[in-house]
Symmetry: C2
Subunit: 298 residues, 2 copies
């Protein structure tokens, strides 16, 4: 496991976990290293390289992981956003790629200390897909990946509709998290129970659904939760839920929105589909992000 | 003159003025009082009562000025927004009302100390207008009001198109000031020279122009400055220009947006004219305002 800011803590003590699913636990990884370079110096041959960073560093990361990618390595992307697979497919044309979209409420409240307050749900499948079709790859990696998690308490679905799933997710994280930041810092409970922000969120979500439908020719499959179900889960969450983008904002960290909101706006523009609310949120957030990060650096 | 927070300073020393038009001056009002009530106790009969407050206190003010309104008093509204005249017309059906829209760059940098950095421009005329037509009133008040300012350095136009003029103004102060706040605090120069915020502003302005055109059946008359002219004036302003809404926001004061942006959205809704950007800005700003004012009061 590559740890950066929490390296010392995790190396020495593992992860302290307080989880709604697994209770109070300590998780000690087999090995903790401080960088990808250090991982490559172990001269192991990795079956899976799991990428779980924020997406604003993706371009660099695609290059950085080169030393740990061997012929047999399967790249697993557990990130938020649309079309994240493309640079990996281009860079590693002969490696398997698995796309994973998760719903999980977990925050690192202090270095190496994780609070996990929403059950883990995971959809995954072939990540080597283009706009129209899936590219051939060794699907045994997907079955193997499933065999690793099958006995955990993680709810998961293996699906060949990962594009649908990623659009289904960005309808929430390209709207709610953004509005939470732009409206001065709202928990999702506040956002979804305040009439004017709730209405704004639902209009924004409709825009995203419209783009997805125009792009893929159909609406979301019924096995993915409806908007109302998602909202109610957020509203009824036992603790106030701040989206991680809001937490990053409050810490003065760069915000992850190009892969979600930015891609929604770009794809909508290509399709000539109007998304004025998303476009407004995007321009405002971009400027807020620039100001916020600059302020922190000064 | 009714002064509130700056009462002591102005009562004792007048206004210290540093003006791009009138230079360094001290202006001593004939009389300074601390409240409307105190003004009424002077038992003067006022020719003009000039209302220059922020509009978020308008409902109360319409009632509060009662003691200083006699049969001959003309009410002069120098404020930002749409349809501000309506409650005054309803409350004082026999009094003259003059609507005034000004462009003036002036900030009270400390109590009683005014910095004036953009030339004063003023359009005024019959304020007793409904959506369709002007109501009869004694127009001599308008001529008298003009005679008071005719020898000043103020550029002014007397017009029977005050509805047009007020819409022309809100196309800027219902958009630029709002975006300046929502995007984390931008001067107008920054806002208008940053591509993504400039594009957003121009799209929002187009929405307002669309509503105005649908409501009044025609575009703005050519004697009112074009958007490009306005923008260039702001960009080339010798000092960084923060909209007063941004200054209020930074001080934790309530923001003036219902009379501008709020009315744009409400009228657009009545006309079934789409204003998704204004609507988004409105919902976000409303929430920011609630949060900001609450924070200040705690």
């Amino acid at each position: 496991m590559v740890c950066r800011s929490n390296y010392k803590q995790v190396k020495n003590n593992g992860y302290q976990l307080e989880s709604c699913t697994w209770g109070k636990q300590v998780f000690i990884p087999d090995n903790v290293v401080g960088s990808i370079e250090e991982a490559s110096e172990l001269h192991e041959s990795y079956d899976y390289v799991i990428v779980t960073t924020k997406t604003h560093s993706s371009d660099k990361l695609v290059q950085d992981i080169k030393p740990v990618i061997s012929q047999k390595t399967c790249i697993v992307l557990i990130q938020n956003g649309l079309e994240l697979e493309v640079p990996y497919i281009n860079q590693y044309p002969n490696n398997s790629v698995i796309s994973v979209i998760t719903f999980v409420g977990v925050h690192q409240v202090e270095s190496g200390h994780l609070e996990h307050f929403l059950p883990f749900k995971m959809n995954f499948g072939n990540g080597r897909h283009s706009e129209e079709s899936y590219l051939p790859q060794d699907l045994s990696n997907i079955a193997n990946f499933e065999s690793i998690i099958v006995d955990s308490e993680i709810k998961y679905v293996v699906t060949d509709q990962m594009r649908m799933v990623s659009w289904h997710k960005v309808q929430f994280n390209g709207t709610l998290a953004v509005i939470a930041v732009l409206s001065g810092g709202l928990t999702l409970q506040e956002l979804l129970t305040t009439p004017h922000t709730r209405e704004l969120a639902d209009r924004a979500i409709s825009e995203v659904q419209g783009v997805a439908k125009k792009l893929m020719g159909k609406g979301f499959p019924s096995w993915l939760p409806a908007v109302e179900v998602h909202h109610n889960q957020m509203i009824n969450n036992p603790v106030p839920y701040k989206p991680s983008m809001l937490i990053d904002f409050e810490k003065g960290l760069p915000l992850e929105y190009e892969s979600t909101l930015g891609n929604i706006v770009r794809i909508a523009t290509e399709l000539d589909y109007p998304v004025p609310i998303c476009r407004t949120n995007y321009a405002l957030l971009k400027q807020i992000d620039i100001k916020n990060v600059t302020k922190t650096r000064v």
